[in-house]
């Protein structure tokens, strides 16, 4: 019980000082990587924005600064801006901080290319395959890019998680179903 209370006290102190620890960490990383923008989101959450071509340098810097785990590579498809946002989610066990490394690349399939970070974080290979399968981001240098991943043959190359993928029309074509109640209906109720 004692330990828990101590930790709670520590938390309160830190929030009082406006997340001093996180500020210092962001400063430390930004000194080494001046091309990036960084900010503290809240306690234990920091965020960086990095240009796409410097992502490898930046992740190397993060690894040197004790960000040991890569949790996920999330692709967010911003249809209006015509951009993919790649969010590398990192966790540092030493600093107990979650860092989002955000970068933007164009959305067109032939331009959506990124350098792989497989040699820095080996687990990234899996995440990159995931991102490639669902969004069509090609990671150069990852040999397993062409290897079959979750999707079946029929959906390969369709990149079904992109925002402009018309799922209902595709489902109707693929499974030859009409709505059970009303055959004229083709809009989502929800």
């Amino acid at each position: 019980m004692a330990n828990g209370q101590e930790e709670k006290g520590e938390v309160k102190e830190m929030t009082g000082a406006k997340w001093e620890r996180e500020q210092a960490l962001v400063q430390k990383i930004l000194e080494k990587a001046p091309y990036a923008e960084g900010r503290v989101r809240r306690e234990r959450r920091i965020e960086f924005k990095v240009p796409a071509d410097r992502i490898r340098d930046f992740l190397m810097t993060l690894k040197e600064n004790n960000f040991e785990l890569m949790l996920q590579i999330t692709v967010v498809d911003w249809l209006k801006e015509g951009e993919y946002e790649l969010v590398y989610q990192m966790w540092s066990i030493t600093h107990r901080t979650h860092a989002m490394v955000k970068t933007r690349i164009p959305r067109e399939l032939d331009k959506a290319r990124m350098p792989t970070v497989k040699d820095i974080y080996p687990v990234a290979e899996t995440y990159e395959r995931d991102a490639h399968d669902f969004y069509g981001v090609y990671f150069e240098g990852n040999e397993k890019m062409e290897m079959p991943w979750i999707l079946d043959d029929a959906e390969q190359g369709l990149f079904p998680h992109r925002k402009d993928f018309d799922m209902l029309a595709y489902v109707k074509k693929k499974y030859k179903i009409l709505d059970r109640f009303d055959e004229n209906k083709d809009n989502y109720v929800i």
Partner: protein, 191 residues
């Protein structure tokens, strides 16, 4: 020459009391299988048990939604089973898509691809409901109305057409060879 049809009631009686299940958890309902098989609900009282090999199994439990990738394996496994064989579909998803009614990767009407004998409602169905479905299946076997395997044999062309439409022709061969280039050490770089 013995006329085996005379012994059919006896066979049905025996079939009803020793339904072996293919151990294939095809969907989320797989989580309710262990409670069913183990001490609490104990399906072994009915002479049922999960069997690792489809060659010796009679009953196929489709536990929940079915994705096309799984459906390929389901079809292969189903065809491996000896006749007579029965299929019990769990929950809403095999019937009409369930919550995945608009998902690109979930089968909507399972009956188009393999014949299903009994459906039970629920998401997911309680073990009691599954047992009720099995009881119903036993009754059907006794009446001789559980004829999914006959339907599959008679309408094989139709089922095969639907399967081929979904997966593309020659999916069995493609599936069998899919991983060979990735397993070979030399050929890996070709593709």
């Amino acid at each position: 020459m013995v006329d085996w049809r005379l012994f059919e009631p006896l066979f049905e009686f025996a079939r009803k009391r020793s339904l072996w299940i293919v151990a294939f958890c095809t969907g989320c309902g797989g989580i309710e299988m262990p409670p069913l098989m183990t001490s609490r609900y104990d399906l072994e009282r009915f002479g049922m048990m999960p069997n690792p090999a489809p060659r010796m199994a009679d009953l196929f439990l489709i536990t929940g939604y079915v994705t096309p990738k799984t459906l390929k394996r389901i079809i292969i496994t189903y065809e491996m089973q000896p006749d007579p064989k029965y299929v019990l579909a769990h929950g809403s998803c095999p019937l009409n898509g369930g919550i995945y009614w608009d998902a690109y990767n979930a089968i909507k009407h399972l009956d188009r691809y393999i014949p299903v004998d009994v459906v039970i409602a629920g998401c997911m169905p309680r073990p009691e409901a599954v047992m009720d479905g099995i009881k119903k299946l036993m009754e059907m076997i006794e009446n001789g109305t559980a004829d999914g395997w006959k339907r599959y044999r008679e309408n094989y062309e139709w089922y095969k057409k639907n399967q081929d439409e979904l997966f593309g022709e020659g999916w069995r061969e493609r599936e069998a060879r899919r991983w060979i280039p990735w397993l070979m050490d030399k050929k890996k770089k070709e593709k």
